[in-house]
């Protein structure tokens, strides 16, 4: 179903539109073609572009939700009310959304419900590489794994149909290489789908124990019906006729296996990986002596197939850690070593750093001087823990900095402990921890790094920016009023670029007997284009004390015993001028 014979399509001429789409763009297109009416997400790499592309369609009510749990609950409401709904999140977002998702499998749906989980093997931009296929099995949700953009689109449409047909939410699991790789996709017209009628049905939609016990049983019945259907599901298919290897595979690993083994293998390509198509697997196994399971990440297929009593070879050959690739398969199964001409250059790296002019830089510089311990959170500011700033002790997950700081303060009451968190992350899941600190008579200092955007994922709006995902103006959460409503009485709003003010305010906050909050405001330098200026070194004044290097600004260099500022990189924040004791940094008026 998913193979596009592109050449033929193009030769046929105008009536078929074939576009090169990323997996994320294809999922958005699938939502449109399937008649999805409500779509919700919190941004998170590698999932972010799904909602950004869905929001382009006028007919889909789209939102950036404050967090993934809220996204699921809003989409659930829409699904119960009779429309098709989709939520998208990165793998760790499913942890946040797990509560409503587990019970949604019990209630089932009215309109179709699809949850897209974008996993990040290799942790390109994540804190762990949890394999969320286990979630689908744990939640008892049907699991689809596309292996290219065409399948990503097809599986969104199919998943929503199956969701309605079997009265179950459906889990679509992609990985970074599916999300961010482009391949050719045939576009179709959107379905003309009638909204389903909502009828009050507390036995189905209210999961109080007496109802849930019955739903628990019907859940198994619904899954059993699905298992029977799976025997005819076209997305699970045997391919090829090679005699050297018999391979069971899914997702991106299918592409790597085909690439590595080509015509030498026979493949059982699985699009549905929970529940597993037992009949197809047993039939395939009966034809071959040795079965190889090639999958990226954890032995999810392997464990289930072994549990069926079918012997397979898997993780003893292929690593469970990091990304898989076709070269690894060639090495393990064909003994082909990679042939590279040049190896081991010791080259200067280009690691991710806080941007020149980043408003977080000055805050961390001052915090290092006034605080004993700093807890940090998920966002650009996690980069503050790198040299030369080295600011931050702990970072675990979205919103963790405040609870972590409170916990530390319980054990080290005489220490000055400061939590740092961004505006979007604070609203995502930091606010509840702040309530905890106040309610339980704690004392910490909280710095909200308010750059008026969700920075790390590429500048998405959030409830404090005043705009929706469709750039419509909306009400803006007042962070100070919110913090005060939580019971914090000591609150300051300051400019993140004014180091004197930052220093005085943080010292005052630390001196308080109670919990204090400092809101350090300054828009992300990448969206604030107003500062069309840069700074330069006055070499006659410079004593080469190198104080300006302490902030680790990428625009400030030190070469051959001389400090210089790269005027192209400099964004004109002027934080460095406040560190210089010799007035050796001035605005470069020759550059505009």
């Amino acid at each position: 179903m998913a193979n596009v014979n592109v050449k033929k399509n193009i030769e046929k001429g105008g009536d078929i539109i074939v576009k090169l789409l990323s997996g994320n763009e294809a999922i958005a297109r699938g939502a449109y073609e399937a008649g999805v009416k409500v779509a919700c997400a919190y941004p998170g790499t590698p999932s972010t572009e799904i909602l950004e592309n869905i929001a382009v369609y006028d007919g889909i009510n789209s939102e950036w939700s404050p967090n993934e749990k809220v996204a699921v609950e809003v989409a659930q409401g829409a699904c119960f009310a009779g429309e098709r709904a989709l939520v998208a999140m990165k793998h760790v977002g499913v942890n946040v959304a797990a509560d409503p998702l587990f019970s949604l499998a019990y209630t089932g749906v009215n309109g179709g419900f699809l949850v897209v989980s974008a996993d990040d093997p290799g942790m390109h931009s994540s804190q762990n590489e949890q394999d969320n296929r286990y979630y689908a099995k744990f939640m008892k949700m049907p699991l689809l794994e596309p292996s290219d953009s065409q399948e990503a689109k097809d599986f969104v449409i199919l998943g929503l149909e199956l969701s309605e047909q079997f009265d179950l939410p459906v889990f679509l699991r992609i990985t970074t290489r599916i999300a961010h790789s482009k391949s050719l996709v045939v576009l179709r017209e959107p379905l003309n789908r009638e909204k389903r009628i909502y009828a009050k049905n507390t036995k189905k939609y209210v999961v109080m124990p007496s109802n849930a016990r019955k739903l628990r049983i019907t859940l198994e019945e619904r899954l059993q019906k699905l298992r029977i259907y799976l025997d005819t599901f076209p997305g699970n298919r045997a391919e090829g006729s090679g005699e050297d290897f018999a391979v069971i595979t899914s997702g991106i690993a299918y592409q790597y296996a085909r690439e590595a083994l080509g015509e030498r293998a026979t493949y059982l390509k699985l699009g549905f990986t929970y529940p597993l198509p037992e009949k197809a697997i047993r039939e395939f196994a009966a034809l071959h002596d040795t079965l190889y399971v090639i999958e990226e990440g954890e032995p999810f297929l392997e464990e289930q197939i072994r549990a069926m009593g079918v012997n397979v070879v898997g993780k003893e050959f292929f690593p469970a850690i990091g990304e898989l690739n076709s070269q690894m398969i060639k090495e393990k199964l064909l003994g082909e070593k990679s042939s590279s001409m040049i190896t081991s250059h010791n080259l200067p790296a280009r690691p991710p750093v806080l941007c020149p002019g980043c408003p977080h830089r000055g805050i961390f510089y001052v915090l290092n001087k006034v605080a004993d311990y700093i807890t940090t959170d998920i966002g650009c500011y996690t980069l503050g823990t790198l040299p030369p700033l080295n600011a931050g002790e702990l970072c675990l997950c979205m919103g963790s900095s405040i609870g972590n700081a409170f916990g530390m303060s319980k054990v080290m009451p005489d220490r000055k402990i400061v939590a740092t968190i961004g505006d979007s992350t604070f609203l995502h899941s930091g606010i509840t921890a702040l309530m905890d600190v106040v309610y339980n008579r704690g004392k910490i200092i909280l710095v909200i790094l308010d750059n008026s955007t969700t920075g790390m994922t590429g500048h998405q709006h959030n409830p404090s920016t005043g705009f929706t995902i469709k750039n419509e103006p909306t009400k803006k959460i007042d962070l100070e009023a919110m913090v005060r409503a939580c019971g914090v009485e000591q609150v300051w709003q300051i400019s993140a670029y004014d180091l004197k003010q930052v220093n005085e305010t943080l010292r005052a906050a630390i001196a308080c007997e109670e919990t204090a909050v400092v809101i350090a405001k300054q828009p992300c330098v990448l969206i604030n284009k107003r500062m069309a200026r840069s700074y330069r070194i006055i070499h006659e004044n410079c004593k080469y004390c190198r104080s300006c290097l302490d902030i680790g600004c990428p625009a400030i260099g030190n070469r051959d015993g001389e400090i210089f500022i790269n005027e192209v990189l400099c964004n004109g924040c002027a934080v460095c001028t406040q560190l210089c004791m010799f007035s050796a940094i001035e605005e470069d008026r020759g550059y505009t």
């Binding site: 596009v4 592109v6 050449k7 193009i10 030769e11 074939v18 090169l20 790499t45 590698p46 972010t48 390109h124 931009s125 290219d148 970074t176 290489r177 961010h180 790789s181 482009k182 391949s183 050719l184 592409q255 790597y256 085909r258 690439e259 690739n325 076709s326 070269q327 990679s338 042939s339 590279s340 001409m341 040049i342 190896t343 250059h345 080259l347 200067p348 790296a349 280009r350 690691p351 991710p352 750093v353 806080l354 941007c355 650009c380 980069l383 920075g455 790390m456 994922t457 590429g458 500048h459 990448l526 290097l549 680790g552 990428p554 400030i556 260099g557 030190n558 070469r559 790269n566 990189l569």
Partner: protein
Amino acid sequence: MNKAANILIVGVGGQGTVLASRIISQAAQLSGYDVKQSEVHGMAQRGGSVVSYVRFADKIFSPMVEIGQADMIIAFEKLEALRWSDYLQSKGIMIVNEQEIPPVSGMTGTVSYPGDILKTLSSYCQTITVNAIGMAIKLGEPRTVNSILLGTALKKLGFERSIGEKAVIKSVPGRTVEVNLRALSLGWDLI
């Protein structure tokens, strides 16, 4: 074409490597090939080492190019050319823009920018150096570096000139089409 063409486009964040890969993919699609393109995005930071992969043939499976498999690397920056050079196969072609962008670690004096990169590359592989930034400035639009390098690359890959032009027209903003076509043609006629 049964055997896939494997291309890496490398550079520094913000240089326009993603647009370049899109134009190559477009040219491949216009020529009737199956095509896959891959890159990792996420961190909004600028100035990191970036890579995208383009593969095309009658049928493509993996979207990734492995070490020692690339037929061509298009490097927007010299240090990045060297960093990714082990992806090139023995008969592969390196097209390198002569531009130098010092990394932060080099700026702060802890590591120095390696000298003689072009010499090192030439001793390993067929290397075509292009002074794209100089040519682009002469053309009056520094942002056409992209199209100049692509002109050289698309010709070397065996695309028809009209296909290269169509791919550029479909991919760049309308008001910049003309200058980008001139840039493409400069790169095309370089070899």
